[in-house]
């Protein structure tokens, strides 16, 4: 094979899955099926007439929503799946970071599993002998190498799996969403190792939702959608197009959802949750009976989080929350530094004097980022009556890339009665692109560098900050 020949070629490849809704699992069913051929079969084309080629030493990524066919594509390269039509031509030895430690046997030691896993990847014993010390060192498990892996922590297990796969001297490396291995330090190490392999001319094909990593690592990006390649080209171009599409798509979904929600509300008013009854028992006897939310959603509302909960007396209701971008347009995705406005629409069924309007932002993994309210901010609203909206405005959004969950609530001044609390109910995203990548916020900060002249005895010894522990 000439060096210029491509490493991977897809030649009009289609992959069809037959979804048997009740596939015969036993001989009896199979026999019955023979006489009743009208079985309930559905076809699903994971890939349809896909052609492309990847040059030797190139790093490409496949992005797209779940179910777009990305993982099937890697499995076709790997040989786990066979194409229904067309051909996949692979030139070189493949190593796959698909499922780390898939071949480990819990009763065998780390050492024995390295040899077993290495041979599953097609290595001979001499090669494994040679790679062994590097693998152990990389996985950072020197002290545990002769212990059965069933006693390993999940982190050690993953590290060992990654170490074996990454050292398998591949010509072609397949990576499926496993860049999130272990702690941050190990992730950095993995990333370095992959970049190192790339430098050495290894062809890399990855499937990832981590667009930042994709941008950093890849020469070319394929956007898969509906079993086809929708767009291919430079990472920045394809990722931008993909994000635009995602934002647009989410908007469409939201509009649809809001419509459905409105319909649902008119058809069947939801029962008030149990908390309402507790709150109601504290209200005076002559107060109107507790009721569920009555207002119809008449405003555009952000996407609702599946785990959202809602409680309150519903004397004043939040009828919707809308997120607005710098231009004042409804949006679901923002860039770091944008002006971000959360517009909270209310419908007060009775006058609420000096209400407390509160919001909270949580990161996707549950971290409480902020939780301001109108009282602590010293913003007094004399009374809520009828309908209107309250804006929570962040001029310079410091959040970095990720999904965030938004809470909105109306309480009385003393924060003792909840009128309407939508807990972790709304979702918005911040697009990647900010220079910072770690944590959740970018603080308004700057750097300054001062060298210290060590010969200058008059300089005072540096004072250390308090250390943890």
């Amino acid at each position: 094979m000439a060096a210029a020949s491509p490493a991977v070629v897809f030649d009009h490849v289609s992959k069809r899955f037959i979804l048997h809704h009740d596939r015969p699992r036993s001989f009896q069913e199979w026999l019955v099926r023979r006489f009743r051929p009208d079985e309930d079969v559905e076809e699903f084309w994971a890939l349809r007439d896909v052609s492309f080629s990847v040059a030797r030493g190139e790093a490409v990524a496949f992005i797209g929503t779940n179910g777009a066919g990305k993982s099937s594509l890697l499995k076709l390269i790997n040989g786990i799946l066979t194409p229904t039509e067309g051909a996949v031509i692979v030139d070189g030895r493949i190593s796959a970071l698909l499922e780390l430690g898939a071949g480990f046997h819990p009763d065998l030691t780390g050492r024995e599993n390295i040899y077993l896993n290495g041979s599953i990847l097609g290595l001979d014993r001499r090669t494994i002998d040679h790679l062994y010390p590097h693998i152990v060192k990389f996985a950072e498990i020197e002290d545990f190498i002769d212990m059965p892996v069933k006693h390993y922590s999940s982190g050690m297990y993953m590290r060992l799996g990654f170490a074996v796969a990454i050292h398998a001297e591949p010509d072609i490396l397949l990576v499926d969403e496993v860049l999130a291995v272990g702690d941050a330090a190990f992730q950095t190490k993995c990333m370095h190792r992959i970049l190192d392999l790339k430098k050495r001319g290894v062809t890399i094909l990855i499937v990832s939702h981590d667009l930042d990593a994709v941008r950093k690592l890849c020469d070319r990006v394929f956007w898969l959608q509906n079993s086809h390649i929708r767009l291919a080209g430079a990472p920045s171009k394809v990722i931008a197009a993909y994000l635009d599409w995602v934002a647009q798509h989410q908007m469409d979904d939201l509009a649809e959802e809001a419509e459905e929600e409105a319909e649902a509300k008119t058809e069947a008013p939801t029962e008030p949750p149990a908390e309402t009854l507790v709150a109601a028992s504290e209200t005076p006897a002559d107060a109107p009976k507790p009721r569920g939310p009555t207002s119809k959603a008449i405003v555009p509302s952000a996407a609702r989080h599946p785990d959202a909960t809602r409680w309150g007396t519903y004397d004043a209701e939040i009828t919707g929350v809308e997120f607005l971008d710098s231009a004042g347009k409804s949006a679901q995705a923002f860039d770091t530094g944008d002006r971000f406005t959360a517009r909270i629409y209310y419908d007060a069924h009775k006058p609420i004097p000096h209400p407390m309007i509160g919001v909270a932002i949580h990161s996707e993994d549950g971290m409480h980022v902020t939780g301001p309210n109108t009282i602590t901010s010293g913003y007094d609203i004399s009374v809520l009556e009828g309908q209107g909206y309250v804006d929570y405005i962040v001029d310079d959004l410091p959040l970095i890339a990720g999904a965030y969950v938004f809470t909105a609530a109306i309480y009385d001044f003393w924060e003792s009665t909840a009128f309407d609390h939508h807990d972790k109910a709304f979702v918005f995203r911040v697009r990647p692109g900010a220079p910072e990548r770690y944590g959740v916020v970018m603080l308004p900060a700057r750097w300054a560098h001062t060298p210290i002249d060590t010969h200058d005895t008059s300089a005072s010894a540096p004072v250390q900050a308090d250390r943890l522990r």
Binding site: I89, E99, D107
Partner: protein
């Protein structure tokens, strides 16, 4: 550098064998995994490979010398020299049937020639057989059964059994991916097979002429022809217990039958192996 072409076309048998040879290190490690994992969690470890057949021998000896006397001299050796190969065969099938399904996580995630899985089971059971042989030789010494030169044919008989077991194991391993009740059926089948094979009795007790449904049937011959295991077990017994030359014509015929079964089993296996990744 190897170019792999993945397309819908059926793979060729010879190419697959070549690939399997390249993965021999994997087969070796799977065999080691099988053996190590089996003995690691038991106190007596590999002693079980010796103890288990000896205990079974004891049971059959009590049954067939005390309860149902068969008047076979040195019955313990008579039964043990058949029991060991039978255990190898039964173990190969019981293990082989789950070899692909039981490694679903591997099959779905990593590519390697899948036939390595049933092959490693049959080989691991073969190693067990070899480890148990000293127990048999010890029994032969105890009962003063002479070791003859025909013992040198042992590897030949073993090879025939390996070929036959592998063919069946490949077939049932693949079938079990698509029909999960293969295991249940196999259990009954193995039980029947055990009694149809002259393990605890002498093949010579089978009648050469018996009227079945109005037809004169040579039951002994039928057992030999229809059941390769009968011939294989009989050959073990001839060279170990009787110390006499095997019936070469039967041995060759059985070898050919076994080879045919291996080719058919292997052909079936690789014909459907491409679908394991999505069916399992």
């Amino acid at each position: 550098m190897s170019v792999m072409v993945n397309r819908a076309r059926r793979p060729r048998l010879d190419k697959r064998v070549g690939e399997l040879l390249r993965y021999r290190e994997l087969v070796r490690n799977l065999v080691i995994r099988d053996l190590k994992a089996r003995y690691k969690n038991s106190v007596l470890g590999f002693l079980w490979s010796l103890l288990n057949p000896l205990l079974m021998m004891l049971v059959f000896t009590v049954v067939f010398t005390v309860m149902l006397p068969s008047n076979i001299p040195n019955y313990p050796v008579f039964v043990l020299c058949a029991l060991l190969p039978w255990n190898w065969f039964a173990g190969s099938l019981n293990g082989g049937i789950n070899s692909v399904v039981g490694n679903a996580n591997l099959v779905k995630k990593v590519y390697f020639p899948r036939e390595a899985l049933p092959l490693s089971v049959v080989l691991a059971q073969g190693v067990n057989f070899l480890l148990a042989l000293p127990a048999l030789f010890a029994m032969m010494l105890v009962f003063r059964i002479p070791f003859t030169a025909w013992l040198l044919l042992l590897p030949v008989v073993m090879l025939v059994q390996l070929v036959f077991s592998l063919g069946i194991a490949l077939f049932v391993a693949a079938l079990n991916v698509f029909f999960r009740d293969t295991g249940v059926i196999m259990e009954v089948l193995l039980q029947a097979w055990f009694f149809l094979t002259p393990v605890v009795y002498d093949i010579m007790v089978l009648p050469e002429s018996k009227l079945i449904l109005g037809h004169d049937v040579d039951v002994r011959r039928a057992a030999f022809i229809l059941n390769p295991m009968a011939s294989i077990i009989a050959n073990y017994r001839v060279i170990l217990y009787w110390g006499s030359p095997p019936a070469f014509d039967f041995l060759i015929r059985t070898a050919v039958t076994s080879l045919v079964i291996l080719v058919v089993g292997y052909w079936f296996f690789i014909r459907v192996a491409g679908r394991f990744g999505e069916e399992i």
